[in-house]
């Protein structure tokens, strides 16, 4: 079999594939020519008998006659070599030996045909025609075999019966040279054409192999891609007893490395990672790259989850050593999720999804570890899927409710409320925001939901205001997606006008994480909102970066101390609260403490000059419709909720 002329740009797999493509195409061609040649031989046999019958049916001796030997030759050519050759071509199509047998038979048929037709010069062209037909094989060796048979025939007859070849009793010794020349002349062109055709077939096969390889492999790492993984999984699925594992591996903070060092180094890093991971696995185990920094290993015959975990551990260990790329030394870890076949699913998509879920759990547990998917995860995943599905209908079907938790001033007077979203699911009942807000953010539904919250809160707040009374404000949480929309300021203005609420009564609570994604743009938005009169509060202060430089730069009015600080009543916690409040006051910010649940917390925060307090100690969130009633009794002094305070203390 002919090899690649230039092996360098081709991988072993590509070469193998190209040979497979070529072999398949060549076998197909050879089988077709086998069939054609066997039919031709059959036709020649019939033609041979007809011609022998027409030209020399009998030999005459006076008035008596016998069947001419030519007639016998024509008849016996069939069982002698034509029929056996046809049988071989049917039994062993596309075999190399079949081609050579056909070549021999074809040339013998030509020789017999020439002889039985009286050696006419026209029938000599049958030799050339036969060579041309054999050239359909595109196998020059077949032409050589055919030529050797013809040459042997001419050599033998040329020596002992030259007149049977050359038509004269005594001939010029150079006559055979002329005969040989004509055959060699045709052979030259036919062999040349065959070789060119073969080269063309190789070119097509190489191209096809390249496309095939590209379709099933990741170009960057050379690993199988998702499609190949699916095929491998499909092949392995034929064994119902098999126990396999899907190991989903995601690089930790790869994006950070990619963004800071550039995509070129990022690509090199991925290639090195792929190399290391592949070295851990055996030939029977498939490692695929299915996304940016996501790899999936298909482990066959793992038996137990422990074995899969063991392999995953080795994959993680392989990542431990530093990667050295272009003078950079990079330390990288990965998070791994594992799902098992058939326990966690029977199709690859399901298994991959569950391994992905497990991987996210691993990330949430602190990265650089491995987690096996569990039934609990499955249950949660099912709920998440249901929530994701139902969330789309929650807003149009009015399943959301707003509750308001009061913010009290230093004299426990109610100064405002924080709007809190509640979802009353028709089946699952009350679903906490922590369950559905991340899903809403992921799906983009948060923008619509956030706008609804803003509108409802503004509408309620406008209703709370009474002539001559102290104004009651409302605080609304704003998501990152919502805040980053270019028309966010216009939407706020429009809603305020629609609801007839003074901008100064609206406080937008934004987390620090949302603001520092793009500080310049955030400042632009905040300044615009503040110019409108809207107040800005930095939510969950103390849990994120809490960068002092950002605190100075961001145009906020209030910071909201996170409940985790409020709970730290003694030691360093108290000192931090004290410092934060003092610092905020010094730069002109008000401080709201949330999560106040006991009287001691409230007293201490008041002693530390905290401006406003919020928490169950004063009141749990109140349904929107009940707020006017609540205000009627608590507007000037919000008495602690003793029921809750006692429960909390308990």
């Amino acid at each position: 079999m002919k090899r690649f002329r230039n092996d360098a740009p081709y991988s072993q797999a590509e070469r193998q594939r190209a040979e497979e493509c070529f072999r398949a195409e060549f076998d197909h061609l050879a089988a077709r020519v086998d069939r054609m040649m066997s039919r031709l031989l059959l036709a020649e046999w019939a033609g041979m008998m007809v011609l022998a019958g027409v030209i020399t049916p009998r030999t005459w001796n006076g008035t008596s006659h016998s069947v001419n030997p030519h007639m016998w030759a024509a008849i016996l050519a069939g069982p002698a070599f034509i029929l056996p050759t046809i049988l071989i071509s049917r039994l062993y199509p596309a075999h190399q030996i079949t081609r050579h047998v056909i070549a021999v038979a074809q040339m013998l048929a030509s020789i017999v045909l020439i002889d039985v037709t009286g050696g006419r010069i026209e029938t000599h062209f049958h030799i050339f025609g036969s060579l041309a037909f054999l050239a359909f094989y595109r196998d020059w060796r077949v032409l050589v075999t055919a030529s050797v048979v013809t040459a042997l025939d001419h050599l033998v007859r040329g020596i002992w019966w030259p007149q049977s070849v050359y038509g004269v009793l005594t001939v010029s010794p150079w006559r055979w040279v002329e005969h040989t020349w004509w055959v060699a002349f045709e052979d030259f062109f036919l062999i040349l054409a065959s070789r060119r055709s073969i080269e063309d077939m190789w070119a097509v096969a190489r191209h096809e192999a390249k496309l095939y390889w590209g379709a099933y492999h990741d170009v960057l790492t050379g690993l199988p891609n998702r499609r190949m993984l699916e095929e491998c999984f499909g092949r392995a699925q034929n064994d119902p007893e098999a126990r396999r594992a899907i190991v989903f591996l995601d690089l930790d903070r790869f994006k950070q490395a990619n963004d800071t060092l550039g995509h070129t180094i990022g690509d090199k890093l991925l290639a090195l990672v792929a190399e290391r991971l592949a070295a851990v696995l055996t030939k029977e185990q498939t490692l695929a790259r299915i996304g940016g920094d996501e790899f999936v290993a298909l482990l066959d015959e793992v038996g137990t989850p422990e074995k899969a975990t063991d392999t995953a551990g080795r994959l993680l260990a392989a990542m431990a050593a530093a990667f050295r790329i272009d003078g950079h030394e990079l330390l990288l870890s990965a998070s791994v999720g594992i799902s098992l076949y058939p326990d966690h699913g029977r199709d690859l998509a399901m298994l991959q999804e569950r391994a992905d879920n497990a991987m996210y759990v691993a990330k949430s547990l602190g990265r650089n570890q491995c987690v096996v998917f569990s039934r609990e995860m499955a249950r949660r995943e099912q709920i998440v899927q249901e929530i994701s599905r139902d969330l789309y209908m929650a807003l149009p079907e009015r399943q959301f409710r707003l509750h308001f938790q009061p913010l009290v001033g230093r004299s426990t007077e109610v100064v405002g409320f924080e709007a809190l979203l509640r979802w009353i699911h028709p089946v699952h009942g009350l679903i906490p925001p922590s369950e559905f807000i991340p899903i809403a953010e992921k799906s983009g539904l948060i923008v619509g939901i956030g706008e609804w919250v803003l509108r409802e809160a503004s509408r309620h707040c406008a209703e709370w205001q009474i002539d001559g009374g102290r104004p009651i404000g409302v605080a609304v949480n704003v998501s990152g997606l919502q805040f980053e929309r270019p028309d966010f300021g216009d939407r706020v203005r429009s809603i305020l006008q629609e609801c007839g609420l003074a901008p100064s009564l609206l406080t937008l609570e934004v987390t620090e994480g949302v603001l520092i994604r793009d500080v310049a743009r955030a400042c632009h938005h905040l300044n615009r909102l503040r110019r409108m009169g809207v107040r800005i509060a930095l939510d969950d202060f103390g849990t994120g970066y809490s960068s002092l430089s950002y605190l100075a730069a961001l145009p906020a009015d209030t910071i909201k101390l996170d409940r985790s600080f409020v709970n730290r009543e003694f030691g360093n916690g108290a000192a931090i609260i004290d410092s934060v409040i003092e610092m905020a006051h010094r730069i002109g910010l008000r401080v709201v403490a949330e999560g106040v649940e006991t009287s001691s917390q409230g007293d201490r925060l008041l002693n530390l000059n905290c401006d406003e307090l919020q928490g169950f100690y004063f009141s749990p969130p109140v349904a929107g419709d009940l707020v006017p009633g609540f205000l009627a009794t608590h507007r000037d002094g919000c008495q602690p909720d003793t029921r809750f305070a006692s429960e909390s203390a308990a």
């Binding site: 005459w60 030759a73 070599f81 056996p84 050696g119 007859r157 049977s164 038509g167």
Partner: protein, 194 residues
């Protein structure tokens, strides 16, 4: 396949043996026999061709003669050609083999039956395709066949020698072999009734 090759070679050996086996050669009279009833032009050489009406091999002989006639120019010596088809006296249907019509198409050829092969016997022709050339005065110049083997038309020494004899007017040295069916069958070539 070996069997097929061997069988084919063996068959070819038989075929070649058959093709290359010349027919019997009689002794032709050195001068034109006086009792012959074949019409003769005393001004031109006389070319006689004896043919078995059913002999397939003789088709090659007629083909060679046609080729030779076509090659000869007007200035060359044009012999008077007589094709004699040998048959038992009174036999019917012997014209149907097709050779008769082929012979009729030869330029300037006179075609006739040789009943019981009397003329063939007279001229010593024992094999279909036997050709004799006598010069205008009745001297034998050529005797033999003009094909290389049975039924094989194509270049051969017999045809070359016949052309040479015609052009030079001198006899060839040795008789050429005749490839064709036998004329010496039962009931044929009976002694001429002289």
């Amino acid at each position: 396949m070996c069997f097929a090759v061997i069988a084919t070679l063996w068959g070819m050996r038989i075929l070649i043996g058959f093709d290359q086996t010349a027919g019997a050669m009689g002794v032709a009279p050195a001068r034109w026999p006086a009792p012959s009833e074949i019409p003769r032009d005393p001004a031109r050489p006389q070319l006689l061709v004896f043919v078995h009406p059913f002999c397939p091999c003789s088709a090659a002989t007629l083909e060679e003669l046609e080729r030779m006639t076509a090659r000869r120019t007007r200035t060359s010596v044009q012999p008077q050609m007589t094709v004699l088809f040998v048959r038992p006296r009174g036999a019917k249907g012997w014209r149907s083999a097709g050779l008769w019509d082929t012979a009729r198409q030869l330029a300037g050829a006179h075609v006739m039956w040789d009943e019981d092969g009397q003329e063939a016997h007279r001229f010593g022709a024992l094999t279909s395709g036997d050709i004799l050339l006598y010069e205008a005065h009745g001297i034998l110049l050529f005797h033999g066949g003009v094909t290389g083997s049975r039924g094989h038309a194509g270049d051969n020494y017999g045809a070359d020698e016949l052309t040479l004899a015609l052009d030079s007017g001198r006899p060839v040295r040795a008789p050429q072999m005749v490839f064709g069916c036998s004329l010496a069958g039962v009931g044929l070539l009976a002694p001429a009734r002289e």
